[in-house]
């Protein structure tokens, strides 16, 4: 749960500390890692942590989306097409393109203002199916229908494969840390408190003077922008191609899976969840392969939710609190 106390210096220090720690922990191994696929998996983790973070932002205001792939996909398409048709450089298009999903997010949030919980989830899911058909049929002349479009590389031509992999890794890391800082600032701000209030009880929030409509729109708009950014980054670095398959069920499920495993409604949860689940997933696929690995992953996820229903990050904070408690008790002259 996001702790109360908007903009307290304590939170600011902790958030900055964690951000620095993440940057260091992820930056240092670059000196030793030589396997390209390890870099690629971690880049994937960073990008999908941004995506999970964006989902979490909407979830904080009680808007549990089951169709975030809409925004992931629209961001990717908008950015790739902005490079292709308007001639923008990928590094610029990546940030301009997500305005399209942000607008879609605002529109969907506006339509869904009266909907809650399952009803909201199902409508967001439905929009993914609808957007997919629109992209394939109505905008087929632009999107090359089911075949999709090749995405321009984020980096100039002529760089070696290793350099590109490292640059992808660093840009993913930088954007993930940036998103984390933004999400933390949001969570601990007055708007974050409003999100929480809406999540817990919309009626009480309204009565207490929270502008529910504005905050729900704000959360979805921001969330959709960040999801679009993740999609754009993904297509310009890792997949290098975008096709309507992105508007599938799976891509809407990932952020939910990562965020809940890590810790819902905390800025750290989505990152920890993406890292743990994704790395375990890759390990299982490589060591067991095929169906057995997926059965094992399913079992592991079921165990996580049964034993740590508040997510893995909650476990970390509890462990840290226990360590600090122990240290203060053992310190000489503590009493």
């Amino acid at each position: 749960m996001p702790a109360v106390g908007a903009g307290e210096p304590r939170h600011r220090r902790r958030t900055l500390g964690i951000a620095l720690g993440m940057a260091l922990a992820a930056g240092l191994p670059l000196a030793v890692i030589r396997e390209l696929f390890v870099l690629q998996i971690l880049t994937f983790v960073f990008i999908f942590a941004i995506y999970a973070q964006s989902w979490n932002l909407a979830a904080q205001s009680g808007q549990f989306s089951l169709g975030h792939a809409t925004f992931l996909g629209l961001g990717a398409y908008a950015s790739v097409l902005a490079v292709d048709r308007l001639g923008l450089p990928p590094a610029v298009a990546m940030f301009v393109g997500p305005i399209v999903p942000a607008a879609a997010g605002l529109g969907i949030a506006r339509l869904c203002l009266r909907l809650r919980e399952w009803y909201f989830g199902m409508v967001t899911f439905g929009f993914t199916a609808i957007v997919q058909v629109l992209v394939v049929e109505q905008f087929g002349w632009l999107t090359n229908r089911w075949d999709g479009v090749d995405a321009a590389r984020l980096w100039p031509a002529g760089l070696s494969v290793e350099h590109v992999a490292v640059l992808n890794y660093l840009s993913g890391l930088a954007l993930m840390v940036g998103t984390y800082l933004a999400a933390a600032a949001m969570t601990y701000s007055r708007s974050g408190l409003a999100f929480s209030a809406i999540h817990d009880n919309e009626l009480v929030a309204t009565v207490s003077g929270v502008d529910v409509r504005r905050h729900r729109l704000m959360a979805m708009g921001l969330s959709a922008y960040l999801a679009g950014l993740a999609g754009a980054l993904n297509s310009h670095t890792l997949t290098r191609h975008i096709s309507p398959g992105i508007f599938g069920v799976e891509d809407s499920i990932w952020p939910l899976l990562y965020t809940v495993a890590g810790g819902l409604r905390t800025p750290e949860g989505p990152i920890l969840g993406t890292l743990v689940v994704r790395v375990f997933w890759e390990w299982a696929l490589r060591s067991l392969g095929g169906f057995d690995s997926l059965i094992l992953i399913g079992l592991a996820l079921a165990l996580i939710v049964t034993f740590f229903p508040r997510g893995l990050y909650h476990l970390v904070t509890r462990f840290a609190a226990w360590l600090i408690g122990r240290a203060t008790r053992l310190a000489p002259g503590a009493r």
């Binding site: 979830a59 439905g126 819902l264 059965i295 992953i297 939710v305």
Partner: protein, 292 residues
């Protein structure tokens, strides 16, 4: 091409698919009514039902007899899933239930694929002894199987109605659905009702899957989309409402069927969601409100 005959054909196809949606959605809505849980792994239970029926036919059992067995087995599996899966996380965040059902999808789907793929490759269909027989109704040709399928689906719905409205456990189930705490205070063991409703829901999914397998070739992955649509159906009809599941299921089947006919295949799935969104804009809690 717009003659009465083809329209009737499209309509009958819609009612057929709609009846399968109806069974799936009724199972989901029974579970939701009592437990307030949406089981996304419903489609995987459905495919296990289809698979077990398929196995029975390969052993020489009549498919419509085999369905009974697979319904029963998957129903027991449902009871186990409730007892050791959903019960322990009751009372934690709502989203955890979605999370658990996604984990169940991974487990059930891949466990099925593991035994299915080596023997049946990608797709298999349940063969019935009446596959080539038709009723010729002049404008309309109806396969024997389609008629049997409709009869089975509606007989089960009638049985369920009798169970819900004319037996003691059925009454307890409706009571728990309307007011859980109230039922507990009346001395009803709601945890037993949870297991019962999950078991019946899973059984209905298995039956829907078996019927699906008679009409369409299926794979271990074929259940996901119908289950999501069944979820959309119960949202459309109103969560927890059996009446809503029946009306919504048939409506969905017919609308989809007509959309495929008039707009083309790629609009089939999207049209159903357009319908859902339009209905929810007008009635944010579905056609029939909860508990009907």
């Amino acid at each position: 091409m717009l003659d009465l005959g083809s329209l009737l054909q499209v309509l009958s196809w819609g009612l057929l698919v709609g009846s399968i949606y109806m069974l799936l959605a009724t199972g989901l809505t029974l579970i939701f009514g009592v437990m307030k849980v949406v089981n996304f792994a419903h489609g995987e239970l459905m495919m296990w039902g289809a698979f077990l029926t398929l196995l029975a036919t390969r052993l020489g059992v009549n498919p419509y007899l085999g369905m009974l067995g697979s319904t029963l087995l998957v129903g027991l599996l449902g009871v186990a899933i409730e007892r050791w899966g959903f019960r322990p996380i009751r009372g934690t965040a709502k989203i955890n239930e979605i999370f658990l059902s996604i984990a169940l999808i991974l487990i059930l789907q891949n466990a099925l694929a593991r035994v299915f793929i080596p023997y049946f490759r990608e797709y298999a269909q349940i063969r019935t002894p009446y596959a080539t027989e038709f009723f010729d109704l002049g404008l309309l040709n109806l396969r024997y199987d389609f008629v049997i399928l409709l009869a089975v689906a509606w007989a089960i719905m009638l049985g369920l109605w009798i169970f819900l409205f004319h037996t003691a456990p059925g009454r307890e189930m409706r009571g728990a659905s309307q007011n859980r705490v109230g039922s507990m205070l009346m001395g009803v063991d709601v945890r037993r009702i949870d297991m019962l409703s999950f078991g019946i829901g899973a059984g209905l999914a298995a039956l829907a899957g078996s019927l699906y397998g008679v009409v369409n070739p299926f794979s271990p992955y074929a259940g996901t989309l119908p289950a999501i649509k069944a979820f959309a159906v119960i949202i459309l009809g109103g969560l927890g409402s059996v009446k809503g599941a029946v009306v919504g299921g048939l409506l969905y089947g017919v609308v989809e069927s007509f959309a495929t006919f008039f707009l083309g295949g790629s609009w089939r799935d999207a049209t159903a969601f357009v319908l859902l969104i339009v209905v929810l804009m007008l009635r944010p809690e579905g056609i029939f409100k909860e508990g009907g």
